[in-house]
Amino acid sequence: MIMYALAAVLFGVGLYGLLVKRHLLKKVLGLLILEHAVNLFLVEVGYIEGGTPPIRIEGADAAAFVSNAVDPVPQALVLTSIVIGLGLAMLMVALTLRIYERYGSLDANRMSELKG
């Protein structure tokens, strides 16, 4: 339960950073925290208290495996999601760098277009 609360808190922190902070890098960090809060939640969905890794060893007890192993599907989803997040992070940082080159500042208020 405490881990779900952590995911919720991280989500809130990320959203706050994204919406309230004016510094573009802080917005980027906010978005990354928000994404990982969702990833954390996904991992927790498949987690079983005291569970074993979902790797089946030849000859092991099948019934025990089914009841003890954590759900591997959310882990696969999170891996995919992390890879997508990496691509997104690269693009965000690249854009932030370009903005810095152009304006010499990362303050969102100094930009002409960026209002939201």
């Binding site: 994204l18 978005l31 691509g87 997104l88 903005i99």
Partner: protein, 516 residues
């Protein structure tokens, strides 16, 4: 046909990689690679629509005997039905026009192989999203298309473009997180990802109403932002005009429909269920947000003088028409909504392409500084006028028929107030586009524009062709097109008191030897 379905994703994905491979050695090959790939997609999509096949294909599909005694086919389920076929055809048609237009238009940009690679990636993402049979693949393909579109908006690398891309990326990524969170909550309560299975589980009442409400809210916010429905529209008026013209046409013409409208229709009608416990409130929400988008979009469009910004706001308004049509939860409403989404893709991409031509010709996007273009650029004018008449809803163009159908659907569903708002919006749209015609195309030709020549044929031809398709879409409506669109609508909403479509969808997916 079903065996070929994975090609809809593989061909553009392959083209994207190939464009990157030839980037250094033979950059001139890249445009032709992507052109060949979209022509192949066009052929496949036409074959799919003509044959009218529907079914599920499993990409991968390794038969697997598990140690636990059960056997199942792990693989990526791609569902090809009337609705998917329609959107695949739409993506192929608009992409072909856009690529042709871009051949000359993109001359002024650097790094063109990258443009073709990103464009192919965008097409792969959209095709995948339209075919995805489970929610997580839907999310992945939405992300592929979105990331390609963020990069394409920034392609000009000017201050405007980069800022718009940054804003678009921030909001788009929050929307994607919201979609992923919705998927996670659904998985937590059912242990399923396949849309057909999820639909069955939700229809059987396995998900509590509170959970379902949370899921519906997360999906509506996420997909609503991708569809640019108000109040989630803030990114669109910056992002769409900032991109190069062919990309604006792709984003406004296709992306908001495949990632927004299509995904929304699938999730709301097949997974969450418009007749289920949340049906009534979802309908109200769609109608309210639709009205907000319709009226807000057109009022903001009226005040614009920047042509591309005006078109972007008008896209929000037109998406509002589609949303209210979907909010009726009737077969006629869904058919009208899909038909309007289809028509909007044709005329809005034509208008964005012609805006690109006009910008190239006059050196400005401000319509008050244009004028009399009709005298110097007849081909561009022809296409622009056709598309404008269509979006303004002048018969016999397709925009007239789809708006009429939406009005009929709204009135027959007992929603006269929404119908009246839609009718008023249609009139305001007409006013907006009369203004554009009057200011940009006709009237006095400014002195500095006396010597300009019309754009090359490879730029005017796609616009004229799309405008011609708008006319054909209207003329063919009574002669067969209505059956195709009707079938597409029937794959998510059948014409009966109880909706049989989700049940048919499940049967179709499960008949592929795939056990839930």
């Amino acid at each position: 046909m079903l065996d070929l379905v994975p090609l809809f994703v593989l061909i553009p994905l392959g083209a994207a990689f190939a464009c990157l491979l030839v980037k250094k050695r033979a950059p001139a090959v890249a445009p032709w690679l992507s052109l060949v790939s979209v022509v192949a997609l066009l052929g496949l999509a036409i074959a799919g629509v003509v044959q009218g096949t529907s079914g599920a294909a499993i990409a991968g599909g390794w038969s697997l005997e598990t140690h636990l005694g059960t056997s199942f086919l792990p693989g990526i389920v791609l569902v090809f039905d009337g609705l998917s076929a329609m959107f695949l055809l739409l993506v192929a048609v608009v992409s072909t026009a856009v690529l042709l237009f871009g051949l000359r238009y993109m001359d002024t940009y650097d790094g063109r192989p990258l443009y073709y690679a990103l464009l192919s990636l965008l097409i792969a993402g959209m095709n995948g999203a339209v075919l995805a049979g489970d929610l997580f693949n839907l999310y992945v393909f939405i992300e592929i298309a979105s990331i390609a579109s963020y990069a394409l908006v920034a392609f000009g690398t000017g201050g405007r473009e980069i800022e718009a891309a940054f804003k678009y990326l921030m909001l788009g990524a929050v929307a994607s997180s919201s979609i992923l969170l919705g998927i996670a909550v659904l998985y937590a309560s059912t242990g399923l990802l396949n849309m057909a299975d999820l639909g069955a589980a939700i229809a059987a009442g396995q998900v509590s109403e509170a959970t379902l409400l949370a899921v519906a809210t997360l999906f509506l916010a996420g997909l609503g932002l991708k569809a640019a429905m108000m109040p989630f529209h803030a990114w669109l008026p910056d992002a769409h005009p900032s991109a190069p013209a062919p990309i604006s046409a792709m984003l406004s013409g296709l992306l908001i429909k495949t990632l927004g409208i299509y995904a929304l229709v699938r999730v709301l009608y097949v997974v969450i269920g418009m007749d289920g416990v949340l049906g009534g409130s979802l309908q109200t929400l769609l109608l309210v947000l639709g009205c907000l988008s319709m009226v807000g979009g057109v009022l903001l469009a009226l005040g614009q003088t920047d042509l591309k910004r005006l078109l972007a706001y008008s896209s929000i308004s037109q998406m509002g028409f589609v949303l209210v049509a979907l909010g009726t939860n009737t077969w006629l409403g869904v058919a009208a909504g899909i038909y309007h989404a289809l028509n909007h893709a044709l005329f809005k991409s034509a208008l964005f392409l012609s805006a690109g031509s006009l910008e190239r010709l006059t050196g400005t996007r401000d319509i008050t500084e244009m004028g009399g273009i009709a005298r110097v650029a007849p081909a561009t004018t022809l296409g622009t006028v056709g598309a404008s008449l269509s979006i303004a809803g002048v018969p016999p163009f397709n925009g007239f028929w789809s708006k009429l159908l939406i009005l009929i659907a709204l009135f027959s569903a007992g929603l006269p107030v929404v119908g009246a708002i839609a009718a008023a919006t249609a009139v305001l749209t007409l006013v907006t586009f009369v203004k554009v015609q009057h200011k940009a195309l006709f009237g006095a030709l400014p002195e500095r524009l006396k010597d300009i020549k019309d754009v090359p044929a490879s730029m005017s031809l796609p616009v004229v062709a799309l405008a011609l398709l708008c006319l054909l879409g209207g003329l063919l409506w009574p002669l067969g097109l209505q059956d195709i669109v009707g079938d597409a609508a029937a794959s998510v909403r059948t014409d009966a008191k109880t909706n049989l479509a989700p049940e048919q969808y499940r049967t179709m997916v499960h008949s592929e030897g795939r056990q839930p």
